[in-house]
């Protein structure tokens, strides 16, 4: 196990370095921040001076070497716009996003397992016909729309919660509830469809033949197998959340990393963009390793790590 983790860690490190190279090149391809930073009426001379001051006119490989050597000293560069170290800005914003992601995924996982397995017990039965459309609808509804309607109904009309902001736990209720809807919808359907599929596997028929009641078959055997696709897709959803739920962060005024990342891309604030992406990537890759380890734990037949069983 430890060897596997170490091997994956090294692979992930390699992936991070590739990511760095790719993103560096990509950001440089989008231009430079001179026109975003300087006011509209700045003269061409002012623009040229600014670009020279920050080295945007140097060839890409020169800029890259400079960046990497700074990186080797732990210096992720200065955010041009925020006039602060880029990693400091990113580290300030990241915990907020992680907290949102954690609460959202916890609730979504629990609820989707419950709802999905109940629906799978009687495919096209009454419960299924009720839950499936509801979760699909909420999953495909535009987040922006749902968030604003939620604010309007629950904060303005009913006055149960504040409209936006972060101050108290009550402030987190609306954003988390709105964020939960998409993963909940997707994961419920995933659980449902893979459990329905598992029920046709031989072991299900064996269990039925042995006389176990419906409920035990569903929860003990089929659920276990459905956890594999569940945690995979949950991982994909979580990745999206860790990269920042920009719409929710913007509407509710949560200074999370999604908003910081998007703004930095628009502004061409390269150091900040890269710092945000790297930070999120580290967490995501660690999560993927954890998911792979869970595969092996959940289904003893699954072999990860390239040692085929014969």
């Amino acid at each position: 196990m430890a060897r596997y983790v170490l091997r994956r860690a090294l692979q992930s490190l390699y992936a991070v370095l590739m990511l760095l190279l790719i993103v560096f090149a990509m950001t440089r391809l989008t231009g430079d921040p001179t026109n975003q930073y300087l006011p509209l009426s700045a003269s061409p001379q002012a623009r040229a001076d600014f670009a020279a001051l920050h080295g945007f006119n140097d060839p890409y490989y020169v800029q890259f070497i400079r960046y990497v050597s700074d990186l080797a000293h732990g210096d992720f560069g200065q955010s041009l716009f925020k006039q602060r170290p880029a990693m400091e800005v990113a580290l300030e914003a990241f915990p907020i996003t992680l907290t949102l992601a954690f609460f959202t995924m916890s609730i979504a996982l629990v609820l989707s397992i419950v709802l999905g397995s109940l629906a799978a017990m009687r495919p096209n039965g009454r419960f299924d016909r009720m839950i499936s459309p509801l979760t699909i609808f909420t999953a495909s509804a535009p987040t922006f729309w749902v968030a604003l309607v939620a604010i309007f109904v629950f904060a303005m009309m009913l006055g149960w919660v504040p409209t936006s902001g972060m101050g108290t736990p009550a402030h987190w209720i609306l954003p988390v509830c709105v964020l939960v809807l998409t993963p909940l919808g997707v994961l419920t359907q995933v659980v449902r469809s893979s459990m329905v599929s598992s029920l046709s596997a031989p072991y299900a028929k064996t269990a039925l033949a042995k006389g176990a009641s419906d409920a035990r078959v569903v929860f003990v055997h089929a659920l276990r197998n459905s956890l594999l696709p569940l945690i995979t897709i949950a991982g994909v959803q979580a990745t999206g959340l860790v990269n920042g739920a920009v719409v929710i962060e913007t509407i509710f005024g949560f200074p999370g990393i999604g908003k910081v990342m998007i703004d930095s891309i628009r502004d061409r604030d390269f150091s900040l963009t890269i710092a945000c992406i790297l930070l999120a990537a580290v967490v995501v890759y660690a999560m993927n390793v954890a998911i792979d380890i869970m595969y092996a734990r959940l289904d003893p037949r699954v072999q990860i790590g390239g040692e085929a069983r014969r």
């Binding site: 930073y37 700045a42 006039q83 629990v110 604003l148 309007f152 902001g165 736990p169 659920l223 913007t250």
Partner: protein, 508 residues
């Protein structure tokens, strides 16, 4: 397995329940008596005084924490004293400013000539890229001398008739301010001082007990940031904020709390005057006749916008009221295009209408405008662009091989003088100007060197000339909608776009 599942569910439910219970104990609505909450569009990236001409920065610090040397009176358009009590010209190229006595910075240091000069030099430092300098003092070569403790001579190589106006863009901070980097804790002379900056969440300022001027009513201000306009409007309506200086026009539906004010921005369609068919004056005039400016107000543009004749506000020195509005005459537009076509002008060439995503009027206004232009017989296609791509069309140098285009742009001039506009928009060396006319250039140069009343007269002449040449289609003076909660009274001015003087806010 089922037991574990049940346990997890119970734990989750308990956590959620306790979160809800705890949360309800903290009302967001309770306020101290003299504290207010202001909800802004965006958090400023810095609070450095040398960036106070940047909108997000100025809204928090300008005339609140950091004061400027002079101030433009929005009602009269004249320059009022602020940190400088009086000023006069010593000779052609030198202005003498007398500073107000008895003023102290928040850190106790006195405001004097030395502090003034140091703050000014800091602003001019090329390594800091201060927007105050880039916007107003670029390439100026200002020379400062302290005549005595409270008097400073400001000398420039060329005569600078509008130096008092320019000084309204200069914020003075304490000499102890870091000279090599932008600061997040500005130390100025203003009626408020910075109490806390919770990055990403809020900025709090408190009343300065040692302020030299009148004591303001508001004791404490909390600035919060919500990018979504509907949420800002909701916060004021809900009592979570006392004022939102900017809300969206479609949310400004409550007559009791919502007010609109002219914000010194003007929009126009800029013609690519060097490229056919826009190089033909008939085509340009036709575009102006084809646009139904009235119909667009209250529909695709805010109803409170006002049709414009010049690219500057009526209060700006140089505004020419005698310039007529272009009437809506679709028949005349069609006739002009037909005439141009007969004369061999390639009116069927495709023209791009370039719009920056996020412009006022969104995608609706350009769509309607294109329909109007198509009715006249032109071939126009919409192209939305985000900032960097937009700038390639907006600023010089314009790329080679760019197609003929009309560009929808918004211009802001609240400096009190039309010079900035005329240079930027109509001079051949202007950064966003497509015009290359020798006569216009020489007139603008003449005006820049002149003082009033000659200056205004020359500028008026230029506005008349560019109108006659149909250089562009000047559209509207923009307004901003603001929502003001029931606890306070405040009258927005054209400057509310970039500063919110808390001392002007009173409680009911």
């Amino acid at each position: 397995m089922a037991n574990r599942l049940r346990a997890r569910r119970t734990l989750g439910a308990t956590l959620l329940a306790s979160a809800v219970v705890l949360g309800f104990g903290a009302p967001a609505l309770a306020q101290q008596n003299d504290a207010i909450t202001v909800v802004q569009e965006q958090e400023p990236d810095t609070l450095d005084p040398c960036e106070l001409t940047k909108k997000n920065v100025g809204m928090v610090i300008r005339e609140n924490i950091v004061e400027t040397v002079t101030e433009i009176n929005q009602q009269t358009g004249k320059v009022d004293p602020r940190l400088a009590e009086s000023w006069s010209t010593i000779d052609d190229t030198t202005w003498r400013f007398k500073l107000r006595p008895g003023v102290k910075f928040h850190d106790g240091k006195p405001l004097n000539a030395a502090a003034f000069i140091q703050a000014f030099k800091r602003m001019m430092d090329p390594n800091l890229s201060c927007s105050n300098r880039v916007l107003y003092f670029e390439g100026m070569g200002v020379d400062l001398t302290a005549v005595d403790d409270l008097t400073v001579d400001v000398k420039t190589p060329q005569p600078s008739p509008i130096m008092p106006v320019l000084m309204s863009m200069v914020g003075i901070e304490s000499p102890a301010t870091d000279a090599h980097a932008l600061v997040r804790n500005p130390v100025g002379t203003g009626p408020y001082r910075l109490a806390e900056w919770a990055s990403g969440r809020s900025i709090t300022t408190e009343r300065n007990p040692d302020y030299w001027g009148e004591k303001p009513q508001v004791g404490k201000v909390t600035y919060v940031f919500r990018e979504e306009p509907a949420v800002r409007a909701a916060m004021v309506a809900n009592g979570e904020a006392d004022i939102s200086p900017v809300i969206a026009p479609q949310d400004a539906t409550n007559k009791d709390t919502d007010h609109s004010y002219l914000n010194s921005e003007t929009v126009r369609l800029r013609f690519d005057i060097g490229k056919p068919p826009l190089d033909d004056i008939r085509v340009r005039e036709a575009i102006n006749y084809a646009l139904d400016r009235q119909a667009m107000l209250g529909t695709v543009f805010s109803a409170s916008w006002q049709p414009a004749k010049n690219m500057v506000m009526p209060t700006i020195n140089g505004y020419n009221d005698a310039v007529p509005f272009w009437p809506y005459d679709p028949d005349k537009a069609r006739a002009l295009i037909a005439e141009a076509r007969a004369a061999g002008v390639p009116v069927d060439n495709e023209i791009l209408l370039i719009v920056n995503s996020g412009s006022p009027g969104g995608t609706e206004a350009p769509t309607v405008m294109i329909e109007m232009l198509k009715d006249a017989g032109l071939n126009v296609r919409l192209q939305i662009l985000e900032s960097a791509e937009f700038y390639k069309f907006f600023y010089k140098p314009f790329g080679d091989g760019q197609p003929a285009n009309i560009l929808f742009e918004s211009h802001d001039n609240n400096s009190g003088d039309a010079g900035f506009t005329l240079v930027g928009k109509y001079a051949s060396w202007g950064g966003t100007s497509k015009l290359n006319d020798a006569e216009v250039d020489s007139e603008i140069k003449r005006g820049l060197a002149a003082t009033d009343p000659e200056r205004s007269a020359i500028f008026r002449g230029v506005f008349e000339k560019v109108h006659d040449m149909a250089v562009d289609a000047v559209l509207y003076h923009q307004t901003t909608d603001t929502r003001i909660g029931p606890r306070i009274t405040y009258t927005p001015t054209a400057a509310t776009n970039q500063e919110l003087q808390i001392s002007q806010i009173k409680f009911k």
